[in-house]
């Protein structure tokens, strides 16, 4: 790979943006925390202690204890697992549905495009969260179904991005050349179009993870996500809501975690977009 390879150029431009790099660092921190949670967390996140219920933050419990005497700091660390998993997997689902459909629509054109585009319009017309709530509730409340619900509701966004990128790429000369040479449409799509739509999809993906983390927290807040006793930031907020005046720390810390994590993904997404599209500078 030469130094002129586009990916390296993009990486260089990305690394020149300190704020985006900071976002990436925070994400890495969260990911490492999620993976190595058993090593990082000072306590077992589901170990209850009836003698230490709703204790304010202290040296022993940096973020206090919850309504069952569990360590909030440890639960926030383990909660990163649910949030990261939900963010990434639901976006993979969304991309897995949206990108092929978008490429198909953009590539095939005509009636196929019209039908798929109207279908996308139709799903996008239904308010995202309402759709996700209805799907999650009807599928049955647990983390997997929440991820499916978020993924399906997010898919149209990927479809749109992929379709637009495909149209743009398909208009380029080399695609025409490939077609006239007699390459099958499938090969053209895989060889030439897919690599070219990676950048916009990557940006969309990063930003969508941020949105998906908020969506997972929202569903868990309504009790439609992570099942107890395993923590997720949203379900911790759900439980905290009851003790707002008696134990505000229960609501503050999981919320801060969501905020930091989502902010980082947004920063990285912005950084990526700018790095991929130098014209926007």
């Amino acid at each position: 790979m030469s130094a002129r390879h586009p990916a390296i150029l993009v990486a260089r431009r990305f690394l020149r943006r300190p704020i985006a790099v900071m976002g990436l660092a925070v994400i890495l921190l969260f990911v490492l925390g999620a993976i190595f949670a058993p090593l990082v967390a000072p306590y077992d996140p589901i170990a209850t202690s009836w003698s230490a219920i709703r204790k304010a933050p202290s040296m022993a419990h940096w973020m206090g204890t919850d309504e069952n005497g569990r360590d909030v700091f440890s639960r926030v660390i383990y909660g990163a697992r649910a949030s990261m998993l939900a963010g990434v997997i639901s976006v993979l689902i969304a991309g897995g549905i949206g990108v092929p459909v978008g490429v198909l629509a953009g590539f095939a054109g005509g009636w196929t495009d019209a039908l798929l585009s109207r279908l996308t319009d139709a799903i996008l017309a239904c308010p995202f969260l309402i759709l996700a709530i209805a799907l999650a509730a009807f599928l049955g409340p647990n983390l997997t179904n929440a991820m499916i619900a978020i993924g399906v509701s997010t898919a149209p966004r990927f479809m749109r991005v992929a379709r637009a990128a495909t149209l743009e790429v398909a208009a380029l000369d080399f695609i025409d050349a490939a077609r006239t040479v007699g390459t099958t449409p499938f090969k053209v799509a895989v060889r030439h179009i897919l690599p070219n739509i990676v950048p916009p999809v990557l940006v969309q993906g990063t930003l969508a993870i941020a949105a998906a983390i908020i969506a997972e927290a929202s569903l868990s807040f309504l009790g439609l996500g992570q099942q107890p006793p395993d923590p997720s930031w949203g379900s911790m907020l759900n439980a905290a809501h009851r003790f707002l005046s008696q134990a505000p720390w229960l609501a503050i810390f999981p919320g801060l975690a969501i905020f930091l994590c989502v902010l980082s993904f947004n920063l990285v997404g912005d950084g990526l977009r700018d790095a991929l599209d130098p014209r926007g500078q």
Binding site: A125, V262, L263
Partner: protein, 315 residues
Amino acid sequence: MKSNIAGRIAQIVPTMLLVSVLVFCLQQLMPGDPALVLAGEERGDPRVLAQIRAELWLDQPLIAQYFHWIGRVLHGDLGFSWHIRQPVVALVMQKLPVTLQLGGMAFVIAVLIGVPTGIVAAVYRNRFWDYVANAVGLAGLSTPNFWLGIMMILLFSVNLGWLPPSGFVPLSEDWHQSLATTIMPAFVLGNAIAAVLMRHTRSAMLSALDQDYIRTARAKGLSNWHVLTRHALRNALMPVVTLGALELGALLSGAVLTEQVFSIPGFGKMTVDAVFNRDFPVVQGVVLVTAFLFVMLNLAADLLYVVINPRLRRS
């Protein structure tokens, strides 16, 4: 251009048709038999179940059920709430003003925050205030609505006691109380949209400031302020206006949890309650109505864009 507009309007029909199919299909996802829910204590009685199924057309093939349902929808009949036995249309009419008031206030707040910060960011491009505005905007985008709501209740209601923590008073009843109850949720809703508006205002301003005629105006010696307000801003506001119409759709989505947190009896709360009560006609009705509103707002945004952008009209 005219044919373009006609084309846009023509697209609405298949989109709404597909929305209606989607909404109808949602019911198939719902576990359990609606007849069982409605039969109450007589759910063991097959005759009662058969009667309810016949009343609701549940004993018909899916296609027939769909056409029966859509036929009634086209006549303005969204059916009855299973939970409180009121017509869904009446419920929608009851709730819509609440959410619209909230959304309207949120939008005003969003414009008041988003547009000025966007201008500041553009004028001080790549300097300190630009970064500050960007950071504030991103922070707004990254805060979960419901958490911000909880934090505001914690601060302004629980600790300071300045504002009521929940509830809703219509403007027509007591405007003072009405503002007091809606200011926090409207801010929570508006804050996220302010961030989007800010970003768009910034980039629109930047491209406007780059235009030749602005350079000319500056070269003519017009004051910076004059150039900004008379020339750049007017052009920059165009995409902002159309974007605003689109973001109203996002408002409806954002209202779901905000209304839940602040106990505001609007569209969002009705929807969540309906989902939890398995009150299917209400869920269907709400999704259908919001989707329709969204599609219409989209169209309005497109038309508005053409109206305020003379260049597009001529092409």
